[in-house]
């Protein structure tokens, strides 16, 4: 699994390197993500994420806002974490990268009926609005809560949460 990832990333870097235009492999669309027992094996972007950017997305209210439900003890600067979901310390000891990617992409594929929002999904909502404006959004205008890059960044951040 890890080898496949690195190979894919390498292929990507090579591709962009040769093209010289910064164009990378096109990301997997929300409807095309392949889940296996809740896990998603391949990077949504074909590239590894950035754990530092991931930590910001995790903590930022206007982006991932994971902290509204989770705590991470190594981020003491993040104020008022929630306790709806389990603390994420040691998440990378409990789950593989593919499993974590699956949870962040669509937690309901791992935890049946989970309260955790599906961060990479664009269909199947009841009365969806434009952000927090209370105004209705047209189904074709719905974008996922996180971009593929942001998902990969968050996954990379979660992979740093090791205790063992």
């Amino acid at each position: 699994m890890k080898r496949a990832m690195t190979a894919a990333a390498a292929a990507c870097i090579l591709a962009t390197g040769f093209a010289g235009t910064g164009v990378s492999a096109s990301p997997v669309a929300p409807g095309d993500v392949v889940f296996e027992d809740g896990a998603v094996a391949a990077s949504l972007t074909g590239m590894p994420g950035d754990p530092v950017a991931g930590a910001e997305i995790y903590a930022e209210k206007s982006v991932g806002n994971c902290v509204s439900c989770h705590a991470v003890s190594t981020l003491p600067d993040v104020q008022f974490p929630g306790n709806i979901g389990p603390a994420l310390d040691g998440a990378a000891d409990r789950y593989s990268e593919a499993q974590l990617r699956g949870i962040v992409t669509n937690a309901k594929m791992t935890f049946d009926g989970s309260m955790m929002p599906s961060f990479y999904k664009v269909t199947g909502f009841i009365r969806p609005g434009i952000g927090f404006t209370s105004k209705p959004i047209a189904p074709e205008d719905i974008t996922p809560l996180l971009t593929p890059e942001q998902i990969e960044d968050v996954v990379a951040f979660l992979m740093t949460l090791k205790e063992q």
């Binding site: 389990p86 935890f111 009841i126």
Partner: protein, 285 residues
């Protein structure tokens, strides 16, 4: 389900159903003005399978916020009540009548207990009405006055006066007979996961009351304390305006205030609190 999924799920369930009464909820009693005893904990009504005990949202607020509600001199919501007391005796509309012309002076106590049974089936209209809808019908049909906006300041103040008149009396809305169909509809709405975050009322107020959602301490989302003075908004907030905010927070589109959906939801949520005292105007953060 895979093993690791199962353990995580079991863990989450344990969190939700841990004895949070002691750990996360205030052990406190509410006696307003050293006089009116408020029931903030009661056995759950029989129709509510989810838990055994129901709690007022007051128990989930900080000590400072709880204290503001103990005394009417400190409670900013009382200004709304006082303003409605004036409106009660003021003639308005083409019929030349005030509320008091039909319902007597407030001291006569004809409004005592009214709040506790609303929303309520209205035989003439053939539907369930909220207290606000009933007040508006008095204005338009009996006073010849203009309807108030259901979420207007005048209306919320009058609604707060109705709560004030019933303070301490246990909520007791009827859910059977002609109201049953509306109640069922409200129950369905309560368990529907709205918006892009796909959250139902039950996700927050049934599965996770006592937990923290970021800086907010989740209560059971009871309606017995409305209208409620929100320190953050520096204003009295109506029940359905609170519902609107909660659905907006799911990245969803709320129903309109006064819509059949919100009236049904209000009846259902009120019935979950049957047994808790009316405590409006309450104070919340």
């Amino acid at each position: 389900m895979k093993f690791w999924a199962y353990t995580a799920l079991a863990g989450a369930l344990a969190i939700a159903h841990a004895p949070l009464a002691s750990a996360e909820m205030a052990e406190d009693e509410l006696v307003i003005n050293d006089d009116i005893e408020i029931v903030t904990k009661a056995p759950a009504p029989a129709h509510l399978g989810a838990f055994d005990e129901i709690y007022s949202g007051w128990l989930f607020r900080s000590e400072d916020t709880r204290d503001v509600q103990r005394d009417d001199f400190d409670n900013p919501g009382m200004l709304g009540v006082e303003s409605a007391m004036e409106a009660w005796d003021s003639v308005e509309g083409t019929a030349g009548k005030a509320c008091s012309d039909c319902h007597g002076a407030l001291e006569d106590g004809q409004m005592v207990g009214v709040r506790a049974v609303y929303p309520k089936w209205n035989e003439n209209a053939g539907e369930v009405w909220t207290l606000e809808q009933t007040i508006n019908t008095c204005r338009t049909e009996r006073m010849g006055a203009e309807a108030w906006g259901l979420n207007s300041k005048d209306m919320t103040n009058m609604s707060a006066l109705m709560s004030y008149e019933s303070r301490g009396i246990p909520m007791n809305v009827a859910i059977d007979g002609p109201a049953q169909e509306t109640w069922e509809k409200g129950k369905e709405i309560y368990y529907t996961r709205y918006g892009q975050l796909e959250l139902a009322c039950s996700n927050c107020h049934e599965d996770h009351y006592g937990d923290w959602i970021r800086a907010d301490h989740l209560s059971q989302g009871q309606t017995n304390a409305f209208p409620s003075y929100r320190l953050k908004d520096a204003a009295l907030v109506s029940i359905q305006n609170r519902f609107k905010g909660c659905i907006r927070d799911t990245r969803g589109v709320p129903f309109d205030i006064g819509s059949p959906e919100f009236t049904a939801l209000e009846l259902y949520v009120a019935s979950r609190g049957n047994g808790l005292s009316v405590e409006g105007p309450s104070v919340r953060n």
